[in-house]
């Protein structure tokens, strides 16, 4: 008996609907159909009047959620794909994100973003938007990489009084399994050392945690290198204490992300380590991201667009050889 990453997301929503009358779900095709990825399968039947099909109006979906949150509800909005949240960008960054600072009234809403690439999905069903939203003040941005985190971080995110961008990785939906959803429960804002090591630190989040672990395993096999992998879990807030403590042990840093390379989470991590922990570094800190093109359709191109265990291993070798 195992639980998948998407099972965890569904179970978290079921628990929220069961236990908190303020929660409702709003999104395209999420009611009877159960969602494009079945993250809400059966919930409309189990919780009548709590799960709604939305019109194809991402802007209005978030506007509705902000208004409902002002009035005391805890809406969870499913964007069918993270990519489509660009249509709701204004409501997210200007309406939701500014609301507490401007008015003193928090808007507790959660936007679920099915994120990241899968083979064949192409430029408009593959994007990783976490860096975009993390850039704006007033948003919490979560990037769970494990089944347990997918479950607990959705529960914990909905419990926050602030707007939460919950980036769930589509590649992990059915591929990632665990024995139970009740693994180690860390609070939002705390990173996890997924794989301890001493020769270099790889900071990753979301699906890239698993690619980084594979790369670390290879380096272990080929040279006995002990690579530490840090899973950020939430990119905002960003747990620099854990990252800096790791770099203090290893002296070397590689930040890996699936998003586009200009700016973003990996740039932020490297910039902060360089600024706050320059004396800890034995080698120039490195970044590895997707390529600076739209996400390509063909599986062969897609696999070479994002960081892979191979490309991460190449980067780690370079880092170790300095």
């Amino acid at each position: 008996m195992s639980v998948t990453y998407i099972d965890a997301i569904r179970e978290a929503q079921a628990k929220l609907l069961r236990e908190d009358p303020r929660v409702f779900l709003y999104g395209q095709d999420i009611a009877t159909f159960g969602g494009a990825f079945k993250a809400t399968k059966g919930l409309a039947e189990e919780f009548p009047g709590r799960v709604y099909d939305a019109p194809i109006s991402e802007d209005a979906m978030i506007g509705l959620a902000v208004g409902a949150a002002i009035e005391g509800m805890r809406p969870i909005v499913e964007m069918q794909f993270a990519d489509f949240s660009s249509v709701a960008f204004n409501q997210i960054v200007n309406q939701a994100a500014t609301h507490f600072y401007r008015t003193g009234v928090p808007v507790p809403l959660t936007v679920r973003l099915p994120s990241g690439g899968t083979p064949g999905s192409g430029p408009f069903h593959s994007q990783s938007m976490e860096s975009i939203y993390a850039h704006y003040p007033g948003l919490v941005v979560l990037t769970p990489a494990t089944v347990t985190d997918a479950y607990h971080m959705l529960l914990d995110g909905v419990a926050l009084d602030d707007p939460v961008i919950y980036c769930e990785h589509k590649f992990l939906y059915r591929w990632l399994k665990a024995k139970s959803i009740n693994g180690e429960h860390l609070p939002i804002g705390q990173a996890r050392i997924t794989r301890p090591g001493k020769h270099a630190t790889v900071v990753a989040y979301s699906a890239m945690v698993h690619e980084a672990i594979r790369a670390a395993d290879r380096l272990q096999e080929e040279g006995g290198w002990e690579i530490e992998v840090v899973d950020l879990r939430s990119v905002k807030p960003l747990d620099m204490d854990t990252v800096l403590a790791s770099v203090a042990r290893t002296g070397r840093l590689l930040a890996v992300g699936e998003a586009f390379p200009w700016g973003g989470v990996t740039a932020e991590v490297v910039a902060r380590v360089a600024a706050e922990g320059f004396h800890l570094l034995d080698a120039p800190p490195m970044r590895l991201n997707a390529r600076d093109t739209p996400v390509p359709y063909h599986p062969k191109l897609w696999a070479a667009h994002r960081p892979t265990p191979e490309s991460i291993a190449v980067a780690i070798r370079q880092l170790l050889s300095f």
């Binding site: 409702f24 009047g49 709590r50 939305a54 019109p55 109006s57 991402e58 802007d59 209005a60 979906m61 978030i62 506007g63 509705l64 959620a65 902000v66 208004g67 409902a68 949150a69 002002i70 009035e71 005391g72 509800m73 809406p75 249509v87 204004n90 409501q91 200007n94 309406q95 994100a97 500014t98 609301h99 507490f100 600072y101 401007r102 008015t103 003193g104 009234v105 928090p106 003040p137 007033g138 919490v140 926050l160 009084d161 602030d162 609070p187 939002i188 804002g189 807030p237």
Partner: protein, 347 residues
């Protein structure tokens, strides 16, 4: 520079008053008119303060739109309804119950105001009192009000509640307007949207904004009840807007009112509005709704000229007090400001 060749879309109105004339009553008309007057007196003062360099940023007046705005605000019930005003709704804000000091404190940057210097001018509100604070991106409040109503429905508290918002002719071109109104109609929410067609979006005339004959034609497309009113006519506004609110309150679904009028100022006080043709200013919609309202109230016996003068004098004093108080209050201090955008305090 403005030729007469611009095809201004100022229709001849065929306003059919609602059969129910419940809103043509003394109390409602006097309340709406007093808010019109209070808005005008206050905004004249704000304009002077701006020109004297006492207000940083912009000043945006509702001159020419007071009848429309006040009739909406006066038809709503604070503590029960929602009202998301836009740029030119000082009169509606006042009628809904916003204290004048909220306005002067926000314009003058008092830290004691609802926005505490973090936002200014018309970007103010008290969301927990049913008045959200607008963002500058036009159309964005439509779905937000729909969401407030949706929450009421989820809580089983929607009966008899109305959510209203105002918008201009320019904002009807936004995607947010379309998405929000379509969603509100699909959800069958008691949303009232008042479109002030004031002929210009900043400087852009309506023939560069839309191609339909009259914006009210859009109501049919959304499945929303549509109404047209002469926005310079207080009695017409009272009848049409008041009754549209009543219909929404009684379960008649979303209502759209298109009020035709002319903006009697620039976009803001930095703008002299010189692009508005004289022919338009001299036409029917160039007339001042406040002057028309005074004539109507006196002629119909709803108020006397002496009463109106007294109200004006009282308002002038109240404005002086509200400005003086806000000017004496502390402005924000960057050293003690809480520079945090989240309410959550992560350890």
């Amino acid at each position: 520079m403005n030729s007469g060749s611009l095809a201004f879309r100022v229709p001849e109105l065929d306003v059919k008053p609602f059969a129910d004339e419940a809103f043509l009553n003394r109390d409602y008309l006097r309340a709406a008119f007093r808010s019109m007057l209070r808005a005008r007196v206050l905004e004249n003062k704000l304009s002077s303060l701006y020109k004297a360099g006492k207000i940083v940023g912009g000043v945006y007046l509702g001159r020419g739109q007071e009848a429309v705005s006040a009739c909406l605000g006066a038809a709503l019930i604070q503590g029960k309804d929602f009202f998301a005003p836009l740029i030119r709704d000082q009169a509606g804000r006042d009628a809904f119950g916003e204290p004048m000091i909220d306005c002067t404190r926000t314009y003058l940057g008092s830290v004691l105001g609802p926005m505490r210097g973090r936002d200014g001018n018309i970007h103010r509100g008290r969301p927990k009192n049913g008045m959200p604070a607008m963002i500058s991106h036009l159309g964005a409040q439509v779905s937000l009000v729909a969401g407030m109503l949706f929450a009421k429905r989820q809580k089983g508290e929607l009966a008899g509640v109305v959510g209203a918002t105002c918008i201009g002719d320019g904002a009807t071109s936004t995607g947010a307007f379309h998405e929000g109104l379509n969603l509100a109609a699909m959800e069958k929410l008691p949303l009232v949207i008042v479109i002030a067609n004031n002929q210009f979006a900043y400087s852009t005339p309506t023939d560069r904004q839309f191609a339909c004959r009259d914006l009210v034609e859009k109501a049919r497309g959304y499945g929303v009840a549509g109404h047209v009113v002469d926005g310079t006519d207080l009695l017409a506004c009272a009848s049409v807007i008041g009754n549209a609110v009543k219909r929404a309150r009684e379960g008649g679904g979303p209502q759209m009112i298109v009020a035709h009028l002319l903006r009697l100022s620039g976009h803001g006080e930095h703008d002299d509005g010189s692009y508005v043709p004289d022919t338009l200013k001299a036409g029917h919609y160039g007339r001042d709704c406040l002057e028309i309202a005074i004539q109507q109230l006196v002629a119909q016996g709803y108020a006397t000229a002496e009463e109106i003068q007294t109200w004006q004098d009282e308002t002038a004093e109240e404005v002086q007090r509200a400005v003086a108080q806000a000017q004496q209050e502390p402005t924000p201090d960057p050293f003690t400001e809480d520079w945090r955008a989240l309410s959550t305090r992560f350890s």
